[in-house]
Amino acid sequence: MSSGWVRMAAARDHAIRYGFIVLLFGLIAYFAVAADGFVSPQSAVFIFQSVAITGVLALGVTATLVVGGFDLSIGSVATSAMMAAAYVMVVLEQNAVVAVVACLAIGVIVGLINGWLIVYMRVPDLLATLGMMFLLVGLQRIPTEGRSIATGMTMPDGSVANGTFGAGFLALGRHRFDFFIPNLIPVSVVVLLVLAVLIWFFLEYTRFGRMMYAVGSNERAAELAGAPVKAYKIWAYVISGVFASIGGILLAARLGRGDIASGNNLLLDAVAAALIGYAVLGAAKPNAFGTAVGAVFVGVLLQGLTMMNAPYYTQDFIKGLVLVVALVFTFALSGRGKR
């Protein structure tokens, strides 16, 4: 009897630890059988590409989750950065480096403002970043009076914008490296991998990352242990803003224009990836590896559904469902969800 209980508890532990990884492989196996052409280089490229941008955003939001916060503005930071990149290159006719610097600056500034609102103005994190999201969605439309930005477009004052996206900039989104198969790995995936390793190392192995977790778990204790808690929180939002702006750069480079209508799903996908990450390997806390797995999970799911010709409107529903299941995994089953 008692050994039976122990075995059941152990089985449950295993289910919690490996549940989502198993589910991911199960999903891949299912789509491989059910969806024609799912196992193909083109399909892999597509998954990689969609994973890259949401993944970068998700890693950023993970930093804010670690300090016990949340960042709803990431999607709009990314689209603002995309519009800014297009504006700088097409309208202002500057080169790719200036565009990238402008985007990163937007990320830093938005992060600082978010952090300031939350830490010094005491606005609750969800509300501060929600407000910032609305603000940015509006702001990014002002320079062009709501139009998308592309080479040859007519500006509000009647002039024609003649600038172009630099080749180097476009390569960020379109070039692919050979990896066993020619033209398999997009640059954006390399960017994702580098950022993922960086943030993983930062959170797990540096004293700054450790203290961010302490701040998220017990802010008062962290402060009484000598940590500059306010600075850590603001930094988390700056990391989130910068990562989101990098996502925006990759998006602009892939599209080759400043598309006012794109990027609608970025927020949901990225947040889903980060929250699914809680459940990976039973971490029950925000973590970089889990977030990366979560992003792949979301990417595979979307690509598989697309290839099975699931209507677009069912995709959000299924994503939401997966998210809810992942949250149940984390908070109810593991019994460690103390957040």
Binding site: Y205, T206, R207, A214, A221, E223, G226
Partner: protein, 513 residues
């Protein structure tokens, strides 16, 4: 006496798990009398109040409340056993809890708050009639002599006004028994005076009041009777005029002097010198010197400024005036980080709130303040972290399977040992511990005290404790705090306990030593 008790508790028991919190409490409350209940943290006051007010179920014993037709010779008291706070209120026992905001709804106006119970009770009208609400509220306010704009929002009121509203709201039920749990803990003295005037009026109306407080000035002002509680039982009842305040404090703190007394040491080399430090508006300045190798305990009742002084030394708050010198250099920490860098460490009180990082295991909790010293180029050296944790686990005798255990798996005493280990793992100049024995079993308490004394050389150690026993067991020197300042000093050898207790009770006969 005794026969005219409005409310009577007899042999009340309560246990949580196998821990007995109340071990047979008997208590009478009389009409038109303020009974003050005193007791240190963990004495069982809150549990008693929660049983009376219907939050907890009693474990044993009886409670009785006089019927409406109150007659002095009537022994047939009704049994009283509320299952919910609402039942207790309906029966005539009303409690105003310590947290003022529990008693009022901050976003509503005064009138609505005063009539809230009638609005939400069963049989309340479905439609909200602002005019009627205001009329009823005005009646309540007039009866209480409450001079507050009824249309003001609670969140715009001062704490004292909110408190008044909470009490007035409670009084709208015309209770026979009113319980106030540390009502002045966040009030200024002028605000407290208004509260006292209100309580005087209620006393004249024949309400039996149970008043829980640590503030001696409140107690002197209000008490008709003092009941002291200790370790879950009533340890003293004082009702003969003039009231024996020192006896009450004594009964509350207990004086079970252990004879394994320590050998008090003297220190020659000063580590910390405090000069003219004022930690609160209107408080007298504090001056003291702590020496190398010395363990000094500061004792005093709750709310006399012990934590404020600890936090001032640790850079959490700034003093109003005065200077500090640490090892001969000026010391004025602007943050906890600066204090730690200067070698001043604090084991904060209430470890669950201020100490333990719940998501971290033992090892990570121990290393928390010293990441910088345990890392190179920002990368944590986990080998050093683990070795430090293992050494501390062994030296303090922390009972666990390994340094990777979750904190929640440890007992209270072992959790506290981890909190001490966190700071004792590195050399300090000044080591401060605020209520380090709170929620700690005897054996862990002995272990921690022994470790503090054994490792005392090379630093000054300063403890803040409410319980006198804890000071007597650990310190070379005992300072007494009252009203935000130091009022007495004793070497822990041949202590004049009468004088010490008088200082704790803040008697007017004794000035600073």
């Amino acid at each position: 006496m005794g026969n005219n008790a409005v409310f009577r508790v007899h042999g009340l028991r309560k246990s949580f798990g196998h821990i007995e919190v109340l071990g047979g409490v008997s208590l009478d409350l009389h009409a038109g009398e303020v009974t003050v209940l005193m007791g240190a943290n963990g004495a069982g006051k809150s549990t008693l109040v929660k049983i009376i007010s219907g939050v907890y179920e009693r474990g044993g014993g009886t409670m009785s409340l006089a019927g409406n037709d109150f007659a002095p010779q009537d022994f047939a008291l009704q049994d009283f056993a509320p299952n919910t706070p609402a039942e207790a209120i309906r029966a005539g026992v009303v409690t105003v809890h310590q947290n003022i905001n529990d008693g009022v709804v901050a976003d509503l106006d005064v009138a609505t708050n005063l009539t809230l119970d009638r609005l939400s009770g069963s049989g309340a009208p479905v439609l909200f009639n602002p005019g009627r609400v205001r009329r009823e509220a005005k009646a309540v306010a007039d009866r209480m002599g409450l001079a507050i704009d009824l249309r003001a929002r609670i969140s715009d009121l001062s704490l004292a006004d909110r408190q008044m509203v909470a009490i007035a709201r409670a009084m709208a039920h015309q209770p026979k028994v009113l319980i106030l749990d540390e009502p002045t803990s966040s009030l200024s003295s002028a605000e407290a005076d208004r509260l006292f005037a209100l309580l005087d009026r209620l006393r004249e109306h024949g309400v039996a009041i149970l008043y829980i407080s640590h503030r001696m000035s409140d107690i002197r002002r209000l008490a008709d009777r003092i009941v002291s509680m200790r370790d879950g039982v009533i340890s003293g009842v004082f009702d003969r005029k003039p009231l024996d305040y020192e006896g009450a404090v004594n009964a509350m703190l207990g004086r079970k002097i252990h004879l394994d007394r320590i050998v008090a040491r003297n220190s020659a080399r000063p580590v910390l010198t405090i000069d003219g430090l004022r930690i609160a508006q209107g408080a007298r300045p504090i001056s003291l010197t702590l020496g190398d190798g010395e363990v000094v305990a500061i004792t005093g009742l709750v709310g006399v400024g012990k934590t404020a002084l600890a936090e001032t030394l640790f850079g959490v708050r700034k003093p109003l005036s005065g200077t500090m010198m640490l090892s001969g250099k000026p010391y004025a920490p602007g943050s906890t980080g600066e204090a730690i860098a200067a070698g001043v460490f604090l084991v904060a009180k209430d470890r669950g709130e201020n100490g333990i990082v719940g998501d971290f295991n033992i090892q990570e909790n121990i290393s928390l303040p010293f990441h910088r010293r345990m890392s190179r180029l920002g990368v944590l050296k986990r080998r050093i972290e683990r070795a430090t944790a293992r050494r501390q686990i062994q030296e303090l005798g922390i009972v666990c399977r390994s340094e990777k255990d979750e904190m929640s798996a440890l007992s209270g005493g072992n959790q506290q040992k981890v909190m001490v280990a966190r700071w004792i793992s590195q050399a300090a100049k000044l080591f401060i511990l605020d209520e380090p024995f709170q929620g700690v079993d005897i054996s862990a308490r002995r272990d921690i005290a022994a470790k503090l004394r054994a490792s005392a050389n090379g630093r000054a150690t300063l403890l803040f404790v409410t319980e006198l026993d804890e000071a007597l067991e650990t310190a070379d020197r005992i300072l007494v705090m009252s009203e935000q300042t130091i009022v007495g000093e004793h070497r822990n050898a041949d202590i004049d306990l009468e004088r010490l207790l008088a200082e704790v009770a803040g008697g007017p006969l004794h000035s600073a030593a």
